[in-house]
Amino acid sequence: MSALTLHVNGASRPAEAAPDESLLSVLRERLNLTGTKYGCGEGQCGACTVLLDGKPVRSCRTKASEAAGRKIVTIEGLVSGDRLHPVQAAFLEVEAFQCGFCTPGMIVSAVGLISAKPAPSSDDIASALGGNVCRCGTYPRIVTAVKQAAAAMKKG
């Protein structure tokens, strides 16, 4: 076990972790940030997506030690006070989920997409979120929600 410090959701969080432990494991098991999900362990489903210095990454394929010292945002960090992030608000309004297990990864991926591309087309969304699986098949509503969020963020 070795000590490391992660900068998660604006706070410094010291943790003890095994040498090659994944960022996903440290977030979930050591820091109890369970909004980020395990789905496949090989970067194929996107349920574990977090923002690393603003860019979406698969936390199951990222070593915690590589993330130390960088800015990490998880689904828990998107809310400010009681206010939902516009992407969260749009997902809720459109009800772009069923069982909800993929939702944190979808939302975080969408936040990353919109910050890189403020007005994404359906194809942009399908491509940027192509690595995120919603097994309940809620993709059409997710596309609607991401567009709606992008439009709301443009307006400010």
Partner: protein, 706 residues
Amino acid sequence: MTDDALELAQHEVDGLHVFDSDRRTFLKTLGGGILVCLSVPRVLAQESGRGGFFRDLPQDVASWLHVGEDGRVTAFTGKVEFGQNIRTSLAQQVAEELHVDVSAIDLVMGDTDRCPWDAGTFGSRTTPTMGPQLRRMAAIARGLLVDLAARRWNADSARLAAEKGRVRNPDTGASLSYGELSKGQNLVKTSTADVPLTPAADWKVMGKPAAKVNGRDFVTGRHVYTSDLTRPGLLHGLVVRRPSFKATLASVDKAAAERLPGVTVVRDGDFLGIAAADRETAARAAAALETKWNEVPGQPSNATIFEFLRKNATPGEQGTVKGSVEEAMASADVKLEKTYTVEYIAHVPLETRTAVAEWAGDKLTVWTGSQRPFAVKEELAEAFHIPADKVRVLVPDTGSGYGGKHAGDAAVEAARLAKAAGKPVKVSWSREEEFTWAYVRPAGVIDVKSGARRDGTLTAWEFHNINSGPAAIGTPYAVANQRIQFHPVPSPLRQGSYRGLAATANHFARETYMDELAHALALDPLAFRLKNLSDARLKAVFEAAAEKFSWGKEKPTRERGSGVAGGTEKGGYLATCAEVEIDPKTRRVRIRRVVAAFECGAVVNPNGLRNQIEGAIVQSIGGAMFEAVRFENGRILSSRLSQYRVPRFADVPEIEIVILDRKDLPSAGAGETPIVGLAPAVGNAIFATTKVRLRALPLVPQGLPG
């Protein structure tokens, strides 16, 4: 057997046991107020509640509902939430009859200590059976509250009105909230009364789109799934899996693993597992084990499976026999005989099988994402030789199941490790374990033979399903002479329930066959179906889908064409039209557009219903186009998500849904039936475009053949 009983039997419903709290004690734990209990007729009690099975409890209870002194209403149900949105639709139904807002309702679901016995959440049963039960209790509770107010005011209860959580007296203007009325009552009412329910035409809450009641928790990541649960001192459990199916553990040397700090190793027969402080330590311990397994060679593979199934097919039950197929075939103008196959597919629920188990003395508590909490309770009691009343199973709202989470594997594993370690243990399956050790949707071979007159009238129909299942095996078309049979096979892969069961396979075979026969008769596939249909509800969805799709308006080209398919199952009626596009160079098939018309009686929550229909269509793209479990000699070869393709954003066509809301008909479930139409509609569209007839699911795992 009735259809319902057959459906339940397919899910291996086993014993019942008694809810252990006395009702009055139960009310006390709820903090007083009013408790309404409902007795249900014997036929329903086979599904929910313990009435009927216990001769000494003739008046027993199937469900209960509590009105608290704070006016909050809590309904208790053994059904569970897996994304099908029944937490919301059931709350709507309680709200409707109690005349309160949905926000005033709490639902306690899938807690075996607090909820009435229930066979499980499957078979699209929640809406047709649990919904009306909860509504009846809510209506009884409302009547009770009105009576309490009438007594308090010395008024005629018929003059009083219950609305928005209050009882009002229009004559005096007086009003009391439900909380004020239930305060200090400590009243338990058990009713068998068949109270009238609000007719659909008068619904104020039901029938209107309702937002998911706890939706906010899912977009913030706050919802606690079983896999997110923690307990004081929780250990990480890991099961050391056998290298192939049927392998037995010859020997294991545990010494090196047990020397690691805080590690417990359990060997119990062929079960081998580890409990440790964290995943990393558990994995190190597993690597330190020296195991010898005896493997069983010569198990079937994809290459031999259909041959294996046919060879091992049992005669099956008699099935449906009407008239004489032989005579009708002999005099038919056009005859056709075809065989269809369906591969095993995996559920791939995004939350893998997980359980947290905790022992306190001889009492066991397990949290797990199972669709059958009461069956898991029995499974645990049996596994540990303890009375069922020492076991409590709780099911947090779960990261999906699609029929894949009926068994309690993870629960038993976690409990075994927790027992040995003396601390709570979580077992959360890896994706590889999920692909390998969960059960799969059955593979099948289906033989269809029929005959028709030159004018397109079906005269004979023979249909044999080998292994995949009897769901929706009957034809909805009017045919005088029929022989329909299901032939079970001892499956080489562990197989079980899946959203829609075999209805998908049987619809694929039947609706592809109908298309083939239409072409053989030179009839339009839709017209041919309508000609042979007498079921007005099924006709209506075919017509609605065809109209929305503009069926027949565009002639098929070598690159684009359309297909249609439909049917009825579990009280729902579905017709699906699909348009495909073929890339002439790559031979890749893309589904461009899907129109589905669906009718399930009076719609409870149009918002949730649309989500379920759309989701079922998207999920069915996988099994229709490319999903297949690859296996060989007792091993699963497609044990990772990178080796098993599931539908993604780029696979999704334009989807239009037509819902026929029949306020005059009872509400049926809708979580399954919309999945059955896509595969045959797409296969038929591929034929319309290419004249290539595909009779195997998945249709185009490697693109179009040829």
